[in-house]
């Protein structure tokens, strides 16, 4: 008698359990899709500090403010992993997608797949040469380059011998920023006022390669170089190392980009004149807002265009500004400790050389 009751109840349990599982698996996705809208963010990495501390949190905040949720994944710089990420995001029923393309060419296919599912795509920070993009959110690299050259003019005057240290050839940031320099320099070169004695692209944005370029330029011109326009802080740091060796650190103009902790210290020491910083938090927030609007089916209106390969995409430019000694403290107020470390920047500097207001970081 007892075994029979046990057997029956076990079978019933299995039936109920099986039924529950079936109902759950078939019913849950429908339930999930009825929830708030979801925005996918296919990032290239979590390891680079700006993405983790600035871009992503502000993106998520903007999406949350619009009443939706963000699903963020990273591909660890692997293009195939990113393809899988996009597939999986699309399978979860997202309403809009932002991609930091690991590989611009591979991004084209991902955009195509998203569009086939009716999901609008925003390219974030890295250009994708696809005419199906709804927007490309990034700094206006060419404008940033021109503004750096103008800043050089304001600081020391654009005349004499100049050196340009560019990033990796083929990287949109390096190419565009360098083109921006020449937008301002070309008329001066033609008029004979400015002489670009050395211009090199550096693979992998290698600072050591930039250092060699600066060293050679100094040797070849008897140390008579007025300034160094560099595409990023790494290459700028390399040039400064060469200047240190020649005993000229602080005497020539140097500009970089990204305003990293190391660059800020060089600015505080007077060895770098300024570094262009793009508001990554604004970039994240803007992209989040755009994605939320696209998800709701609203129209967006990026004010500029950008040529990527042979395709023109609508560009939503993000503000970039120069971080110099004058506004270093103000910059640190906003971005330390999230992105840079103020204490490391001002540590062990002689008290009378600190910019006004810097003491509070050294507590």
């Amino acid at each position: 008698m007892k075994p029979t009751t046990l057997a029956t109840s076990r079978r019933d349990f299995l039936k109920i359990g099986g039924g529950a599982v079936a109902a759950a698996t078939l019913g849950l996705p429908a339930l999930a899709q009825g929830k708030t809208g979801r925005i996918g963010f296919a990032m290239s990495t979590f390891s680079v500090p700006r993405f983790k501390h600035l871009d992503l949190p502000f993106f998520e905040e903007a999406v949350r403010a619009a009443g939706m949720e963000t699903v963020a994944v990273q591909a660890n710089f692997d293009a195939n992993q990113q393809l899988n990420d996009v597939d999986n995001l699309l399978a979860q029923g997202i309403d809009a997608l932002a991609i930091i393309a690991v590989n611009a060419g591979a991004g084209k296919n991902m955009v195509r797949k998203a569009l086939r599912d009716g999901v609008p795509v925003v390219a974030y920070n890295n250009a994708i040469p696809s005419s199906d993009l709804s927007a490309f959110v990034s700094r206006d690299n060419r404008g940033v380059g021109a503004s750096a050259a103008k800043g050089a003019d304001a600081a020391v005057g654009l005349e004499g011998n100049w050196v340009i240290a560019s990033g990796q050839a083929g990287d949109a940031v390096a190419d565009e920023m360098t083109a921006g320099y020449y937008d301002v320099l070309k008329p001066l070169i033609d008029a004979g006022k400015v002489n670009v004695v050395s211009h090199e692209f550096h693979d992998g944005w290698d600072p050591e390669s930039a250092r060699k370029q600066a060293e050679n330029a100094l040797s070849a011109n008897n140390d008579n170089i007025r300034g160094f326009l560099c595409n990023d802080d790494g290459t700028a740091g390399g040039c400064i190392a060469a200047l240190e060796q020649a005993g000229l650190a602080g005497k020539a103009f140097v500009s970089g980009q990204d305003a990293t902790t190391v660059a800020c210290r060089l600015i505080a020491e007077g060895k770098m004149t300024f570094s262009t910083f793009t508001r990554f938090d604004v970039m994240g927030r803007t992209a989040g807002e755009l994605c939320a609007k696209l998800a709701k089916g609203e129209a967006i209106n990026p004010p500029m265009t950008y040529s990527s390969g042979d395709v023109t995409v609508p560009l939503q430019p993000i503000e970039a500004f120069h971080v110099s000694r004058d506004n270093l403290v103000e910059y640190l107020d906003q971005y330390s400790p999230a992105y840079v470390d103020a204490e490391t920047i001002f540590k062990d500097l002689p008290a009378d050389s600190l910019p006004a207001g810097a003491e509070k970081f050294l507590k």
């Binding site: 599982v21 759950a24 698996t25 019913g27 849950l28 996705p29 339930l31 999930a32 979590f46 699903v71 963020a72 994944v73 990273q74 591909a75 660890n76 692997d78 293009a79 195939n80 992993q81 393809l83 899988n84 990420d85 597939d87 999986n88 399978a91 979860q92 590989n103 611009a104 060419g105 591979a106 084209k108 296919n109 195509r112 040469p129 083929g170």
Partner: protein, 389 residues
């Protein structure tokens, strides 16, 4: 005399049963993984026809490589350069399609030729210069990758012709898909049923396994038929993978060549005495691996629609992991195609489920490593217990 024979039969049947148990356990573990992630960690996004279809495509590249790797591993060889070979094949594909505007058919032939050529190079160095395959392919990991970067000048070309794009991005119409799956699945189900109902004298455990095997075959057939019918049909890469699996499984179990691979790995000296040409077979296996790598490269190139020279850095290790999880021995002589397939499915499932649950790729790497250790530890424990008894 009779007693001794009975004992031998029992032991060999037990060995076969142990392998079957292992494979069934692995399959059930994978299904358990799907259920856990579907019900608990995601909002039911794992067990949808769409995701299961996506998952099947996501496993094809690694699985094809793992199958070629299985044969090499059984024969006591290894190929660490698989990822680099695939990268060079993909680079060549895009040079032809995008830069030189070559047609798809010629592209495919050239891609296959490149893969086979690289395999022949690896195999020849192994056999003629008697360099261990670990070293040959480790070198290939570098020089073949370097060649890929040189040929592409470090650039990624994208946007193949439509005909090439369709290779990995089209589906067999649902009606055809269900017919094909029912046909193949039905055949295997019938074989499994016959096996179960056969009148031979068997151990009780063998009988249970027979029924479980029948259950799995029928279940997979019905599951696959439903999934592919409901979503968009059988994806082409999965169809290609299916053909590869059936062909290699048939060769492994029912042809002389297949038996020779196991002989070579199980006891090379005895194999040579029996008249098997080890040199020819080794070169042949490497050439075949090159062909499989080229095939995987074609599918990957079409999936990504771009040819980055840096692609697939860890692919060879993933393929080896899949083969080992599936029961292939690193020391040769043991391995099965279906085992490798389930191993690849398990690894792809981990990646897919973790991604759907929003977990970082780093955890995926940890999970894959742990699964590998656990399966080998279990294998080792079972083997040693058997020896003690």
């Amino acid at each position: 005399m009779a007693n001794a024979r009975a004992r031998d039969v029992k032991n060999s049947t037990l060995a076969a049963d142990t392998r079957k148990i292992r494979l069934l356990l692995l399959a059930f573990a994978t299904i358990l993984l799907w259920l856990a992630f579907d019900l608990i960690f995601t909002d039911g996004f794992v067990l949808t026809p769409r995701n299961l279809t996506t998952l099947s495509v996501q496993m094809t590249v690694t699985c094809i490589l793992a199958i070629g790797m299985t044969w090499l591993l059984i024969a006591r060889e290894i190929d660490l350069s698989a990822g680099a070979v695939m990268a060079l094949v993909i680079v060549v594909i895009y040079q032809l399609q995008v830069v030189h505007d070559v047609g798809t058919l010629i592209t495919l032939i050239v891609a296959l030729a490149v893969g086979v050529l690289l395999g022949l190079i690896n195999g020849s160095i192994r056999v003629v210069l008697m360099v261990p395959s670990f070293v040959v392919t480790l070198a290939g990991f570098s020089w073949i990758r370097g060649t890929a970067f040189i040929v592409s000048e470090g650039q990624t070309h994208a946007g193949a012709k439509d005909s090439f794009y369709l290779i990995s991005n089209s589906y067999l119409p649902p009606a055809f898909s269900i017919a094909l799956i029912v046909l193949i699945g039905g055949y295997f189900s019938w074989k499994a049923l016959r096996n179960t109902l056969a009148g031979q004298r068997k151990l009780p455990i063998s009988r249970v396994l027979d029924w479980l095997q029948l259950l799995v075959v029928v279940g997979v057939t019905i599951g696959a038929a439903v999934v592919f019918y409901v979503y968009r049909g059988l994806p082409f890469p999965v169809l290609i993978l299916l053909v590869v699996i059936l062909a290699t499984n048939w060769v492994s179990t029912s042809t002389t060549f297949g038996r020779h691979i196991y002989a070579l790995g199980g006891n090379p000296l005895a194999a040579r005495r029996v008249g098997i040409s080890i040199s020819l077979m080794t070169i042949g296996l490497f050439a075949l691996m090159g062909a499989f790598t080229a095939l995987a490269g074609v599918i990957q190139a079409s999936l990504l629609d771009a040819g980055p020279p840096g692609i697939g850095q860890l692919l060879a290790l993933n393929a080896i992991s899949a083969a080992i999880i599936g029961g292939t021995s690193l020391f040769g002589g043991y391995g099965s195609i279906w085992g490798t397939v389930v191993g690849s499915l398990m690894m792809a499932s981990i990646a897919n489920c973790l991604s759907l649950a929003g977990v970082d790729t780093f955890f995926q790497m940890v999970a894959t490593g742990l699964i590998l250790i656990i399966t080998i530890a279990v294998d080792s424990l079972v083997m040693n217990r058997g020896k003690g008894a």
